[in-house]
Symmetry: C2
Subunit: 768 residues, 2 copies
């Protein structure tokens, strides 16, 4: 391997740094109209009366559309491949606009106007009269017997899922120690740099063309077809450069409405661009989840039994909720070995923004609960928490009893060993004993496993097309979407490696277009290098075989003696140069007797999965009077299999840990408990990590070689966001003796908990 495993520069780096990359907002279409949405000013209720007459007559307004004007049928928004089995299809609970208000900011009406300002003005001329109900803002209220149904007929339950394995009663009976715990995570938002934005128009053949900042163009195509009730082939989705997604653009949020609104103005282009404030409430969030865990262990640290009850607070629409609940429940079963386990997840509707996919897809929540709980269990039996975890962690060769997925490789033990050394675990633990005073230090750790891609729950299908140019360079088309994570660079590396050509001979077509680029379900589930990489590898191998075959035809040298290096076909043994790729390519294009340009157009289905692993080690200093936590050191150590590009991989970890730090310490969407109105849906009041807040992040990799992956690689996109929060919680516990089981660990919460724990005197409080 020469290019795989080396830190080549991002192929889109210059383009993005110089502002040459084109995002939705950079694309100019003549006569573009602008849509703005009328959002409800209540969180739960019904529109009794809506009057758009005044808005409709404002000069510059082209259309005013209300919930009364949209198709009646419902559609889902979750970015999953379709299933031909109706039982496995996503929950279809959306209309394009709604008169039944389910969250503060629900979409009631839309104005299309010549410019944004006119559209905004028109919105203010629409008169709405509501029938208002009390908002339901947490899981308990949603599940009350008499709770008002947010979606009729659901009892506010999107999905209840669970399993029981082994004899739970007997396993608990064998335990020396039983611990129960409650853990809570908060609602946070992706805060991708680019807000959701799309424009749509109807082309002259009546097809709808959508240009969108999406992770999932092919799924978007399908969902727009469903939402508008038209054949999917009548929809075309184009994805230009995307300024981050983190899962929020794995939902089809703005595209169906933009498309529908275009049909209301004779197919003229209509742009629907959300503001940051709208993106917070009208796209997706990370689920708040409430965990109740009960575990039984032996004195020697053997985990015997575990019960979990999870309420996943999903907000007003189903989105990915059912699937994220299921993914969480799998982790309860698989993260540690136990003789018996029972898990129940209830995903509920509330009157809050809809939660959906977000980096980690439920795993940061369940790992927070599990890794806090494991820390508490270790403390309870007086065992080193690392030893306790490793004793119970599933080993390589482990097979998930429910879905048959096998852990072929695991570098977790080595990851923990690295972390332990980096943080100087034993010395620090000893040094931190018996601290007093306002500032106290502690260290903590947390581990995780993370399945790569979605098999066997979901379809894993990817496509790639490669064309050999006359000069020996190639074009690479993929269906997978570069959204900032570096996938295009990694695919170029794979292609160059297999074909034996320099990296800059690979020209990646970076715009996906459902009319043109191969089918791929999109960017999510850390599946790109694993699944789409499989398609790229397959296509490159096909191209290579065709090049060697043409070389054989030209030279009569048998293929088994040939290889390619540095853009030349060489003799395998002597590595002597035989023919340049250019000469072979020219022959393939211009041979009058037998021309056939060399191309490969493949699809690749991954019917495997691979477990990635990792852990966070952190040292904190807690300022007890102010409740402020300083992260002094933090290391994320990952087994993501073979690392294709170390610098890019390190960047992924930096980004993921930064996101996890915000999750751990600062971020939380707040809602007014009476009205359900969001209180901090902007980047002034919502505390996102900035560069100044972020400590130096240590990164290390333990490279295993997974046999199911194209290059031994496993998930890396999401894992860095998983384990920092419980590691910090465990470090705060180490420093202060106070276990804080609710995120975020912000000063207010710590202050209150330290006060309750007697670490802060009443007088001290008054001084603050």
């Amino acid at each position: 391997m020469q290019i795989i495993g080396s830190s080549v520069a991002r192929i889109d780096g210059v383009s993005k740094v110089c502002g040459k990359a084109e995002y939705v907002d950079d694309i100019f279409v003549r006569h573009m109209l602008h849509a703005k949405l009328l959002r409800s000013t209540i969180a739960n209720g019904r529109v009794r009366r809506i009057d758009t007459a005044k808005a409709g007559t404002l000069p510059g307004v082209e259309a005013v559309v209300t919930f009364e004007d949209v198709p009646f049928h419902t559609f889902p928004t979750a970015g999953h491949p379709y299933s031909t089995d109706p039982k496995h299809q996503d929950v279809a609970d959306r209309h394009l606009l709604t008169g039944r208000v389910r969250l503060w900011g629900d979409e009631i009406a839309a104005v299309v106007a010549a410019d944004e300002l006119t559209a905004e003005k028109a919105l203010r001329l629409i008169d709405v009269e509501y029938e208002e109900y009390s908002p339901i803002l947490n899981g308990e209220d949603a599940l009350q017997e008499n709770a008002l149904e947010i979606h009729a007929g659901t009892k506010n339950i999107i999905k209840k899922t669970g399993y029981q394995l082994g004899n739970l009663e007997q396993a608990f009976a064998e335990a020396d120690y039983i611990l129960e715990g409650d853990y809570k995570t908060s609602v946070v938002q992706h805060c991708a740099m680019e807000n959701h934005s799309a424009f749509a128009y109807v082309d002259a053949t009546g097809r709808i063309v959508i240009c969108s900042s999406t992770q999932i163009p092919h799924i978007c195509r399908r969902i727009v077809g469903q939402a508008l009730g038209i054949p999917w082939g009548k929809v075309r989705v184009i994805k230009p450069a995307v300024g981050g997604g983190f899962g929020s653009k794995q939902d089809v949020v703005v595209e169906p409405l933009a498309a529908f609104l275009s049909t209301k103005v004779n197919g003229r282009p209509v742009k629907l661009e959300l503001s940051r404030e709208e993106t917070f409430i009208a796209t997706r969030t990370r689920h708040a989840m409430n965990y109740w865990l009960k575990s039984g262990v032996k004195k020697d640290g053997t985990l015997l039994a575990r019960q979990a009850r999870i309420i996943s607070v999903n907000g007003a629409y189903a989105s990915h909720g059912h699937s994220i609940g299921a993914k969480c429940s799998g982790t309860v079963r698989v993260q540690y070995k136990q003789k018996a386990v029972e898990c129940e997840v209830t995903t509920v509707y509330t009157n809050m923004p809809a939660a959906g996919a977000m980096r980690g897809y439920g795993i940061p929540q369940v790992i927070f609960a599990l890794e806090c709980h494991m820390e508490d269990l270790a403390r309870a039996i007086g065992m080193d928490p690392l030893e306790f975890r490793l004793k119970n962690f599933h080993e390589p060769g482990f097979v998930d009893p429910l879905n048959g997925v096998k852990a072929h490789t695991s570098g977790l033990w080595e990851c923990v060993e690295k972390g332990r050394k980096l943080i100087r675990w034993d010395e620090q633990k000893a040094a931190n004993r018996n601290q007093t005073g306002p500032k106290r230090r502690g260290i903590g750790a947390a581990c995780f496993y993370y399945g790569t891609a979605t098999w066997p729950v979901g379809l894993e299908l990817a496509g790639a097309r490669i064309v050999l140019n006359q000069d020996g360079s190639v074009q690479l088309q993929v269906g997978a979407t570069e959204i900032g994570q570096g996938s295009d660079t990694v695919f170029a590396q794979m292609t160059a490696e297999i074909l034996g050509i320099p990296l800059d001979w690979v020209h990646v077509v970076s715009v996906q277009d459902t009319d043109i680029t191969p089918f791929d379900t999109g960017s999510y589930a850390s599946r790109q290098t694993y699944v789409s990489g499989g398609a790229v590898k397959k296509a490159a191998e096909e191209i290579k075989a065709k090049i060697l075959e043409r070389c054989r035809l030209m030279t009569d040298i048998p293929i088994h003696s040939l290889d390619i290096a540095d853009g030349w076909v060489i003799y395998k043994q002597s590595r002597e140069r035989l023919k340049s790729l250019e000469s072979i390519a020219l022959d393939s294009y211009y041979n009058l007797a037998a021309a056939a340009p060399i191309t490969a157009d493949v699809s690749y289905q991954a019917r495997t999965n691979a477990f990635a692993y990792g852990c966070t080690f952190v040292e904190v200093e807690v300022d007890i009077p102010t409740g402020k936590v300083d992260v002094l050191q933090i290391y994320n150590i990952h087994d993501s299999g073979k690392i294709i590009n170390p610098d890019l991989a390190t960047g992924q970890v930096h980004g993921g840990v930064s996101m996890a730090l915000g999750y751990a310490l600062y971020e939380q969407m707040l809602f007014d408990p009476k009205s359900g109105k969001p209180l901090n849906n902007n980047l002034l009041d919502y505390k996102l990590m900035t560069a100044a807040d972020t400590p130096k992040i240590g990164v290390a990799f333990v490279e295993t070689d997974d046999p199911t992956a194209p290059f031994g690689n496993k998930a890396l996109g999401e894992p860095p966001a998983i384990s920092a929060a419980p590691a910090i919680r465990n470090a705060v516990l180490d420093a202060t003796g106070v276990a804080i089981n609710e995120l975020p660990l912000n000063p207010q919460r710590l202050f209150e908990r330290f006060k309750a724990a007697g670490l802060i005197e009443q007088e001290e409080c008054c001084h603050v």
Copy 2:
């Protein structure tokens, strides 16, 4: 056949009629700069001194580039596929800019500015001093012993080509009658509705992206690579909608310079759009040709011997000249049978705009000469000119002795029979005898054959990619370019026909992009339905086979019992519906056990050719005192094999005949004999046929079924432009007894010839 052979509406019709189709000028790119070219004000000479200092300081000017700043190496511009054999490569005689001026308007320098007006102003600030030579404006002068060489070392000969078959002396000796004749055609221009236009920029990876109104994106890519001396893979060419080409955009004229200029302004986008005046002189024209023909016949009408000397007046740069000369010479050999034939073509440089490909590619010229000459021979031996032609025309089964191309089918006899009836040949001939007075009527005819595509001279390679969508519809990508001729519609028909789906289930990707769409050499040589159609057929058949195979996997019904109709897989025998294409497509995308979207990505090489035939029958009324010719009736009858879309085919004939009428009667580019300055390079002074000038054009087809074609089809794009001019000349001869052997037959020429023939008295002249 249900869709092949039916007159479906153009799939791009609504788009073009409504102004939704995007041409180069409709595409907005931020920060576009505009280039204007400094053109020489002499036709032959050298720039002695050029001073751009003032121009460079004009505010808004970004770059001024002269011939001193461009790469030294030369490049060709002809739109042919590349050849790996240097002997068969096109003549490379261009630089991006030149200090050796070869035509009035030659390109000396360029200004890039923020807007067109500033660029124009800057041009006027450039100071040029010339060394001027006498312009060479005709073939004879170019070939004079002491003529100044326009390109050094060429003796002004681009190519001399010829052959001799049989014993010429002996064949002439057997003849009862020998006739010599001189025939001349004029310089005309394509006058496509859209002038040449392109913009280019350098992308962030350093590749050059060009958006151009071109017939030949892949060839354009190659030539830009050659012109700039960079690997071809570093060039990307995008072809949006094109407003006509007729061969003028089968030359790479503006793209290399636009690309080069972009590299001079840090890769910013530079647009180079020619005005109509520039398009006339700086793109391509139809070659003026001078023919000397000598033929020997027997009394019974048997053609025995023929000699031809052709001078093809090519203008200042080689372009397609060598190839068009060769094509003309083939027609002298193949059009009629003869015992012995000798032909010599000399293609010469002159100080006029470069001639290149234009609808018919030299054949309208040679057919004018041959069909005038045949008429004169028939008159000389007193034989009906139709009988005389058919007696000597090559028959089906004929094989060109020099290149082995075989005429598999010929409908010419039937075409002539149809024409004879439509024009009422015998009655009219009789009625026209012994006319007197100022207005006289005559009828005339001319025949032609036309090879389809360029095999065996040129490479014939085409590509198509088809993708089956989830709803059973398909996307069709072709490398062939829709330039107004209707090829996209015809390809959609072919796809729908083979797949058994409705036409509107075929979504044609109409923009070609060398990074994305399959390789195809482009639109020219009437090759689209024949060659590119072969690729479409092959791709559609592959998709069909894959659909049936998946249906077999789903149902266990063997493929031999299956077919597709109306979007359903049916039982072949009973035609009972078995599975919708939608259900099969959904299975191909979403089958968890075995998903593989159904695609086909093929290339097709045509190593065959097919002879298309046809004839024009015309009735004219000649006003002798004014020299005005009225076309009373005109019929073009074509054997173009199977007609894929009769309405589109009829449209092609209407357009081609209209072009041929202009060629026959009005059009001619004129140059000042002293300075070489063009005198009528605009649509006010150059007489192009308008709707008002165009008579009702009768169209008929004789459908043969060519075995080498995908659907029995043969060339149709160019043939309608071929035979009207000689038919009109023959009709004028029939009416007046005066044979006018030089085009166009405009009033001035006729007046002079009638006067010389004594049809107009001196006194009459004075009255006019």
